[in-house]
Amino acid sequence: MLSVALITFAGLVALCLAMEKHFGELLKRKPKPGQLPALRWAGWALLVLSLILAVNIRGLAFGLVEWFALVMAGLTLWVFGLPYQPRLLLGLALVSMLLGPVLAALGV
Amino acid sequence: MKRKAGGILLSYRLAVASRCLAALLGGYLLASMASVCITLLVPMTPVDATLTGMMLSFVFYLLAFIWCFACRTATRAWLGVLLPSLALALINGLAYWMKNP
């Protein structure tokens, strides 16, 4: 389930960055045209992907429940950690983006 | 002036109390009637129909609560819960009579 957790987290961060206010605050620059919609699509795609992965690994009942729990936990971590450790959390999101698919391929 | 303000306050408080009662008791009546109505009318086995009716009843309770505090006057609050309850009660009576003649 670690892969699901990481991909979910990456998806949530992408959705947050897809908002102009947060993009500017976190990345300290203006988004290029088309960048925000791309982030939004990527975010939703990652969330759907992680949900499919979760159901695939854990079955429908456990997969759904655990995916919801991971989404809520990821959001809580992101929103309440952001004012204190924005760089750390952005770094974590980047690592999640890279490590998540690798772990998923390994079946963890 | 002061007495008038006090008077408004009292009538306001009574209205709030009336709305609370309408939500609490009227809402419960509506929820019960709705649950019975669902139980008697859905084409399921008795146990499933009972479960479904009870599970959905709280949605009606919740809506009744919201109605009682969202509508314009306390009288409307009471009417808004009692009239649907009455209508449901009639349907329930009919359905019950048809099932248990």
């Binding site: 947050c16 809520m72 959001l75 952001l82 | 669902i38 129909a49 009716g53 709280f58």
Partner: protein, 525 residues
């Protein structure tokens, strides 16, 4: 009274939140503790040793114990040890006694099968029972708790309606800005964990719906709730004893049979009707940990003499699956370690939503009286109740655990005294809050709570042989986890106390240092 729907809903949110917030806070906090019910019980009764699980061997031990201690009982009940519950528990009905007294329960060591003399304590079960019975006579506590659940659900719905920028401020939390931050926090915890909040309050209604909304049962079963339940759970009555002695079948063999039906199934408990009689029956029920939903089909009834499979629980209909899933989600029996921790965190989040709401209600109204420094009676009352319901409850919980370790093990009515200490500590809190100004009362009670919680691991190490060093070395993570959580709670309370005891205007800058200082005192204790 109101202009517009949103204002009306804001009014409803504010006032139902205030009136029920205090009780809801207690229900949510004790309910959150209940996710670690078994672990808390394990801490409260450290006499029970944790062993490697071996269900088949445990069944043999339980049978041997029951045969030599309860041979004449009409029915036996065996609960197997699990990852969370180390004891092998056996119970039976004393044939010579009637009523509730006749039910005897013993805890056995899972390796030796010998009875463990545990200290008399309700443990985690106390908090579990309290969160829906509120220590009130039956059925009033359940009614009140269920009504609180409805108010919570109403609070969530009205809160969503009131929240203007639910999507725009979805990811927003701005700390260090007074009332603004409290509102941000309240909204963020409410919205981000909303699926959990909705699930937990709606499912609470479902758990007692047969009691609070019985009209459907009256209509469909003419008020005969017994036949409703027997159709719902699909249970058959146990057969009558034949009066002919016959040896009971081999229980470990039944365990093996269940394993061939459902490979890898964990077994929760066994019910044995008429043991030692030719009409004996054994029902094996799969552990609740194996399914998200409660499953009435997950049990198997065997002939108690030949060991032949007689029947399996009936399958569930779609409506049942819905209801059982919602109930199962509330209980969280299926959750493994990390998911259980998330359940705990979300429970704390729900508690925090209620707490921040109560604090904000007062904070907003306090501003008007900031200059005079004196609060009118009703605001002072809310302040005292806020303090008592939040920090006071925490002191009560800490008191319960201190009592568990300090009351003499052989004391008469020991379990009741643990509960008395809980309520005494809680009751002292409003008295203290009455005597001290608001901020001081908060700070002092939180500081005491910090000491009490951070001191628990130390106390545990001093009076039992289960301190952190021992439990970690033994790999007893339930015991160690309790101590570490208590320590963490203590540190958090010390941080909060530090914030409260500083003067408000320098608070923002000096808070981190204050917290560090306070937590070191707590650690030294």
């Amino acid at each position: 009274m109101k202009e517009g729907f949103r204002q009306a809903m804001a009014w409803l949110h504010t006032w139902t939140g205030l009136l029920f917030g205090w009780l809801l806070f207690a229900i949510f906090l004790t309910g959150t503790l209940s996710y670690f019910k078994d672990e808390i019980t394990h801490w409260s009764q450290p006499e029970v040793q944790r062993h490697q699980l071996d269900p088949a061997a445990s069944l043999g031990l339980a049978k041997r114990y029951l045969q030599s201690n309860a041979a004449t009982a009409g029915s036996w009940f065996i609960r197997l040890p699990s990852d969370r519950e180390p004891a092998l528990s056996v119970s039976w009905r004393d044939p010579n006694a009637t009523g509730r007294r006749g039910f005897i329960s013993h805890e056995l060591d899972a390796r030796s099968g010998e009875r463990v003399e545990v200290r008399d304590s309700r443990g985690g079960d106390f908090f579990y029972r309290f969160h829906f019975q509120l220590q009130m006579p039956h059925p009033w506590g359940r009614w009140l708790a269920t009504f609180c659940a409805l108010i919570m659900l109403l609070g969530l719905v009205t809160g969503i309606i009131t929240h203007k920028k639910i999507f725009k401020e979805f990811f927003t939390f701005r700390p260090g800005k007074g009332q603004r931050s409290w509102l941000d926090g309240h909204n963020a915890i409410g919205v981000l964990v909303l699926p959990f909040h909705l699930m937990i309050s709606y499912s609470s209604l479902l758990l007692f719906m047969y009691m609070v909304m019985p009209a459907s049962i009256m209509a469909a079963y003419k008020g005969d709730s017994d036949s409703y339940f027997s159709e719902l759970f699909g249970r058959d009555d146990a057969p009558k004893a034949a009066g002919v002695a016959a040896p009971l079948t081999d229980l470990p063999a039944l365990y093996a049979k269940v394993q061939t039906i459902v490979p890898g199934a964990r077994i929760g408990y066994l019910q044995i009707a008429n043991p030692g009689d030719s009409n004996a029956q054994v029902t094996v029920t799969q552990a609740a940990a194996d399914h998200v939903a409660y499953q009435r089909s997950a049990n198997w009834t065997f002939d108690g003499v030949s060991g032949a499979l007689l029947s399996q629980g009936e399958p569930e209909s779609a409506a049942m699956m819905t209801s059982f899933t919602i109930a199962g989600l509330h209980m969280g029996n299926f959750a493994g370690p990390w998911l259980r921790w998330l359940y705990f965190v979300f429970g704390v989040a729900g508690t925090a939503v209620i707490g921040t709401g109560l604090v904000m209600w007062l904070g907003k109204r306090q501003l008007k009286h900031a200059k005079s420094g004196r609060l009118p009676f009703e605001l002072r009352l809310v302040e005292v109740l806020n303090i008592a319901s939040m920090s006071g409850l925490l002191l009560g919980v800490a008191g319960f655990f201190w009592a568990n370790r300090l009351l003499p093990v052989g004391m008469q009515g020991r379990a009741d005294w643990e509960i008395n200490v809980f309520f005494l500590a809680w009751a002292l809190s409003p008295l203290h809050a009455l005597l001290r100004p608001g901020r001081k009362a908060w700070g002092e009670q939180l500081a005491l709570g910090a000491l009490a919680f951070a001191g628990l691991p130390l106390l545990n190490a001093l009076v039992t042989g289960h301190g952190l060093d021992q439990s970690i070395a033994r790999g007893d993570w339930a015991m160690a986890g309790f101590d570490l959580t208590a320590l963490g709670t203590g540190l958090f309370l010390a941080w909060a106390a530090g914030k409260m005891l500083r003067t408000p205007n320098v608070q923002a800058k000096r808070a981190p240092r204050a917290a560090k200082a306070a937590s070191t005192t707590a650690e030294v204790n």
